[in-house]
């Protein structure tokens, strides 16, 4: 199964790209409308890119009134990414999404490097949301932790049905002449090729620690990359930065994944799930 990374595709602006995916993941929705960070918001680096978009979005009211019906009208399976600045923020949005049958999965963005973090722990936020919705709840975790398997156990114990691994890492890039940060906010989230080995390690560690579906993402740009994430334990592969340079990537990666699986004798790519972890 192929989906997009939250914040890496607008299905309303590019319906033809979303149509190539098995489900569309929305940009993280917040309680109130947000203007987001001032420009400059993106910068390329040697092995990836930095972004500080700052969760620009319409807020949950306009999302439910306008965005969600428009997405549903496209016939997409919809996963909603939820953000906030406290556990009640997250739980409040989950409660309102719970009443909407168009929503297939709720993904909790517990790890945006561009905005202030909630004071509660990830497990406390998951527990607060769990009490307000019966929808599948996926916890999206940051790779910037010393023991991600421990975080995975905690959020699963609190009621998460699945994990999304990984979000971006905080990074910085400087203008070579002025030595000032390229991004207006100074720091940003680092994504793309450099994240791939980190994502593999996180998915592998969590797949050994907990028995839930895992959405794997970080630097995937080919069928080979997708199959490697499955081998590390992912059951769904998600595409982020690659979409910016290649809006046909879902099609070609799906073809590549099928090919790479077949040449290794797997009738289905999921037959390779976890083979990297049997050492």
């Amino acid at each position: 199964m192929l989906v997009n990374g939250s914040g890496c595709l607008d299905a309303l602006a590019a319906p033809g790209v979303a149509a190539q995916l098995d489900a569309f993941v929305t940009k993280t929705i917040t309680p109130e409308p947000r203007e987001g960070s001032p420009p400059v918001r993106i910068a390329e680096t040697e092995a990836g890119m930095l972004n500080s978009i700052g969760l620009q979005g319409p807020g949950i009211d306009a999302f439910l009134a306008d965005t969600l019906p428009a997405l549903a009208a496209q016939g997409l399976r919809i996963w909603v990414s939820v953000g906030g600045f406290s556990a009640p923020d997250y739980a409040g949005i989950c409660e309102r999404l719970d009443g909407r049958p168009e929503v297939e999965v709720i993904e909790l963005n517990l790890s945006c490097p561009n905005v202030e973090e909630a004071p509660e722990s990830s497990a406390q936020i998951v527990a607060a949301c769990r009490s307000r919705t019966t929808r599948p709840l996926y916890a999206k975790l940051s790779p910037a932790t010393s023991d991600i398997a421990e975080s995975a156990r905690a959020v699963v114990a609190a009621g998460a049905d699945g994990l999304t691994l990984v979000n971006t890492l905080r990074g910085m890039a400087l203008d070579p002449l002025t030595l000032r940060p390229k991004l207006a906010r100074g720091f940003g989230g680092y994504s793309g090729p450099a994240l791939r080995p980190i994502a593999l390690a996180c998915v592998s560690a969590c797949a050994r620690a907990v028995d839930v579906p895992i959405v794997g993402l970080g630097g995937v740009a080919s069928g080979q990359h997708a199959l490697e994430l499955v081998a590390a334990g992912a059951s769904v592969v998600s595409l982020g930065t690659v979409l910016f340079s290649d809006p046909s990537a879902p099609e070609s990666i799906r073809r590549g994944l099928r090919h790479e699986s077949t040449v290794r004798g797997y009738t289905d790519s999921l037959a390779a799930r976890g083979v990297a972890n049997s050492i």
Partner: protein, 227 residues
């Protein structure tokens, strides 16, 4: 038009040749099935080996080629200028909103590499009047791409040549130039720039302030006209 981005085609295109024009490189690419679009629209050119593509105006199209005028100011544009005939690069376009050419008294106003979209505009309009400003005589070699253009060199400003009677100004150039043009001609069509990650509305990296709100330049622009 084919491909998942509405109105655009994405294709692995071949470089067919290049020319040096002052400090700039005119890169010629086989058009294949990619359409030229409307003057002022742009294309995402993916420099091989880079993570992100770069936005480029179409300079002009002729004989099955798309031609881009590129100023090598950083790693991505340098990689593009270093390509040779036969090299492949991914091209996506045309994208965004171009100039409205159904105007009565068009006047082209360009500054520096902002000359890039105007050869296409000038051909489409049959040689309208044009004012182009450059940093040096070396940079001004690019003015030859817009026949009949009046050229000024720093420190003379393009706005000093703007006529008093109202014209339908189409402008592209550095931000201070665009702001100065807008002060003189509030209705001018201005082609803005912003760093872009995707060019088709996916990343929210390219926002600029339009009507008091941060909007994606690749969706709302790049050509904007004051209300």
């Amino acid at each position: 038009m084919t491909g998942p981005v509405t109105g655009a085609t994405g294709e692995a295109a071949r470089v067919t040749g290049k020319e040096t024009i002052g400090p700039y490189t005119l890169l010629r690419v086989a058009a294949g099935t990619i359409e030229a679009g409307v003057p002022g629209q742009f294309f995402m050119l993916h420099p091989p080996g880079h993570v992100l593509p770069r936005p480029m105006s179409l300079c002009f199209a002729e004989a099955g080629e798309l031609c881009f005028l590129i100023d090598p100011i950083g790693p991505g544009t340098r990689t593009l200028c270093d390509l040779s005939a036969g090299d492949a690069l991914h091209v996506l376009g045309p994208l965004g909103n171009g100039f409205d050419l159904t105007v009565a008294h068009p006047l082209i106003v360009g500054g520096g590499i902002g000359v890039a979209p105007f050869p296409f505009v000038a051909r489409a309009l049959g040689g309208p009047p044009a004012i182009l400003g450059f940093r040096s005589a070396h940079h001004a070699e690019a003015a030859a791409l817009v026949p009949g253009a009046e050229v000024v060199l720093d420190p003379v400003l393009v706005t000093s040549l703007l006529p008093d009677d109202p014209m339908d100004v189409l402008a592209c150039g550095p931000e201070p130039m665009l702001e100065a043009v807008r002060r003189r001609v509030p209705r001018a069509q201005l082609a803005w720039e912003a760093p872009m990650g995707c060019g088709y509305g996916a990343c929210y990296g390219c926002v600029v302030e339009v009507d008091g709100r941060l909007q994606r330049l690749c969706v709302a622009g790049p050509v904007l006209r004051a209300a």
